[in-house]
């Protein structure tokens, strides 16, 4: 075992991919000389050179589209976008090209591309660097959308994502990069198709993903002190959703709270709630509850940002209101 940060786990994964496959290269804004805006790729330029660690101009649409083209041309690109907010400048390429190419070519052209980007709030970066728009991408057929919330997933999701013949988006919550913990030295590829039960319990299911997994686990800890057993389900793969794991948990606990850093309206929490209602309605002892971000552009001031984001106490309150 070694003590590593989430950032280092991600870097290990990229490094391993670069060593293992000549077709892999990393491309994005400031991934090389600067070392990555969140320092994920620090040191990789020196090790792999500028052809494989490619600094790009501030041209999200062109370099994401070039990633698609390079994937079509036989490469296995990893494209880094600084934040999900900036990815909107490449939305055309991701939604209109990467996600559609296989289908509209009748199965001829698959796009083996991995796009990594930072998401989420909590660092007082205000309204253009803090949003959680994962659900926009999770809406789109043809994409696989991943949200590594643990060190194991930060280390292990990239390799299977690169092996996927189709486009994969990896959302890294900015608040997780400094998370430190023990990681097995032999840690490697993980499954990228299913949700995971991170804590078992009998009284309520708390569904979370990415940055909200910590919140959910924190709430479960509080609830345990009050004698309430919360089962925490980490979605991990936001598209396609692993409905079976969620339903199985709810069938056991009979109550569900969904925690989502996105806005409530049209969110992943809405999708998860709908699936619970569709597939586990008669198992429920109470309505499904949701804890989401306030429907405001993210504010700068600390107390306002905290108030806008799902907190442990909000989740505990939501569970208690269900009568668990």
């Amino acid at each position: 075992m070694s003590t590593v940060t989430y950032r280092e786990a991600m870097r290990q994964a990229i490094r391993e991919a670069l060593i293992g496959d000549d077709r892999v290269f990393l491309m994005g804004e400031d991934v090389g000389r600067y070392g990555g805006c969140y320092a994920v790729s620090l040191g990789l330029l020196e090790e792999f050179g500028p052809e494989r660690i490619r600094d790009t101009p501030l041209s999200e649409s062109a370099f994401v589209g070039a990633g698609i083209g390079a994937a079509l041309g036989g490469m296995r690109p990893i494209v880094e976008i600084m934040t999900v907010n900036f990815s909107l400048l490449a939305l055309d390429q991701i939604v209109n090209s990467a996600a559609t190419m296989l289908y509209m070519s009748g199965g001829q052209f698959n796009v083996p591309l991995v796009i990594r980007m930072t998401t989420g709030a909590g660092r007082q970066l205000a309204a253009q660097h803090s949003h959680s728009l994962e659900c926009w991408y999770a809406h789109v057929p043809g994409l696989r959308v991943l949200a590594p919330a643990t060190l194991e997933d930060a280390r292990g999701m990239l390799m299977p994502a690169l092996e996927d013949p189709d486009p994969v988006l990896i959302f890294e919550h900015g608040g997780l990069y400094n998370t430190e913990g023990e990681l097995a030295d032999e840690a490697g590829p993980v499954d990228i198709t299913s949700a995971a039960v991170r804590r078992s319990g009998d009284d309520v299911t708390i569904v979370a993903f990415g940055g909200t997994l910590r919140t959910a686990l924190g709430a479960a800890e509080h609830l345990a002190a009050d004698g309430v057993g919360a089962e925490v389900v980490d979605l991990r793969c936001l598209r396609p959703l692993d409905t079976a794991t969620i339903v199985e948990s709810v069938a056991h606990t009979h109550r569900a709270v969904v925690v989502d850093e996105g806005w409530r309206t049209g969110s992943l929490s809405a999708e998860v709630s709908a699936r619970i209602v569709e597939e586990a309605f008669y198992d429920l002892d109470s309505p499904v509850a949701r804890v989401c971000s306030a429907e405001v552009p993210m504010p700068y001031a600390k107390q306002l940002e905290d108030a806008a984001l799902p907190q442990v106490s909000d989740v505990v309150d939501a569970v208690q209101k269900l009568g668990a």
């Binding site: 370099f63 589209g65 036989g74 698959n110």
Partner: protein, 344 residues
């Protein structure tokens, strides 16, 4: 120089001339195939055999034919939604193309794309892109893959004058030039972005200057003259292939028909259209070949008859084609494990 040598040299010249004439007839044949194919598309559209948006390139055939004739088989083509001519010039059969327009499984995109999304892996034809400007980043990426793998291949990217106003055009031109990638950008400037004239959309209407501002060599080419287009493309493709970085051709052309079958064409002066029709690339080449004696009296008739037979056959093939089972609706959203993949 001995007599023998002189005679041999003369034979060479004759051969070269014959071969050049044969080549010009080939260019004519390709343009005529596209023209007659698209004219038949209009009929089929009126009978509802073809639906959706149908954008015809009638009048612009010299651009597709001239450029694509300059390519090697393993080069790549990225085109727009007005791409019937390009895929036919690239060597995809009329049968597969017509079957696609009729939405049949035998179509070049399995009936999933239609007129705007023609694809073909075997000829490296990457669409059929219906987002204006959206194909340019893809072309840059295809060229990047060739660069990284040390392959001497060229990616040709077609787009219209409308795309020049898009951010993706500028981002892609910059990236291709910055990284000196093997892309030939071909702007088919037909003077209208759908219904809006170039001077109403561009502060600088000399489009080749845009390329120059990215330090990319650029030429203005008469897009109504297939020989001029081919000459320019041959030169550019050679330089691009041998490490000269991206190049830009502005092909000045004109579409004789409306933007799509839905377009009443209210924004163009009829006299302007008639004026451009005098420069129709097909009669222009026919006249040149007839004058030089390269096209015998009945040769054009025979060519037309051959092409009519090919179009008839393609329509019959498409109409006898298979409607995909509705049960297969979800196929190709994601890759199938055993499916042959083209992204090599």
């Amino acid at each position: 120089m001995s007599k023998t040598a002189g005679r041999a040299a003369g034979v060479e010249v004759d051969r070269a001339r014959t071969s050049e004439n044969e080549h010009l007839v080939r260019l004519l044949r390709q343009m005529l195939r596209i023209r007659r194919f698209e004219e038949r598309c209009v009929e089929l559209y009126s009978h509802s055999a073809i639906r959706g948006f149908l954008h015809l390139g009638i009048g612009e055939e010299a651009c597709a034919v001239g450029v694509i004739e300059a390519l090697q088989p393993d080069d790549a083509v990225v085109a727009t939604y007005r791409e019937h001519g390009h895929i036919l010039a690239r060597g995809v059969s009329m049968r597969a193309t017509m079957a696609e327009l009729e939405g049949k499984v035998e179509g070049c995109s399995h009936g999933r794309g239609g007129s705007m999304h023609l694809f073909d892996a075997t000829t490296r034809f990457y669409g059929g892109n219906a987002i204006v400007g959206g194909g340019l980043p893809l072309a840059v990426g295809l060229a990047l893959a060739d660069h990284l793998q040390g392959r001497q291949r060229v990616t040709v990217c077609f787009f219209g004058d409308g795309a020049v106003a898009e951010g993706e055009f500028h981002e892609s031109m910059n990236l291709a030039a910055l990284w000196q990638l093997p892309v030939l950008f071909c702007c088919e400037n037909n003077l209208y972005a759908m219904g809006t004239a170039l001077e109403l959309t561009e502060s600088e209407t000399d489009l080749s200057l845009k390329a120059s501002s990215y330090r990319m060599p650029s030429w203005k080419v008469d897009g109504m003259d297939v020989v001029a287009v081919e000459d320019a493309a041959l030169h550019a493709v050679e330089v691009v292939r041998t490490g000269g970085g991206p190049h830009f051709l502005e092909l000045r052309t004109y579409r004789f028909r409306a933007h799509s079958m839905y377009d009443p064409d209210r924004y163009r002066d009829k006299a302007e259209i008639e004026e451009w029709k005098k420069r129709d690339p097909i009669p222009t080449l026919v006249e040149r070949l007839t004058t030089s004696g390269a096209l015998a009296d009945d040769a054009l008739e025979r060519l037309e008859a051959d092409i009519k037979a090919e179009v008839d056959d393609a329509v019959a093939f498409a109409e006898a084609g298979t409607d995909e089972a509705v049960e297969d609706l979800h196929r190709f959203v994601t890759s199938e494990p055993i499916q042959g993949r083209a992204s090599q």
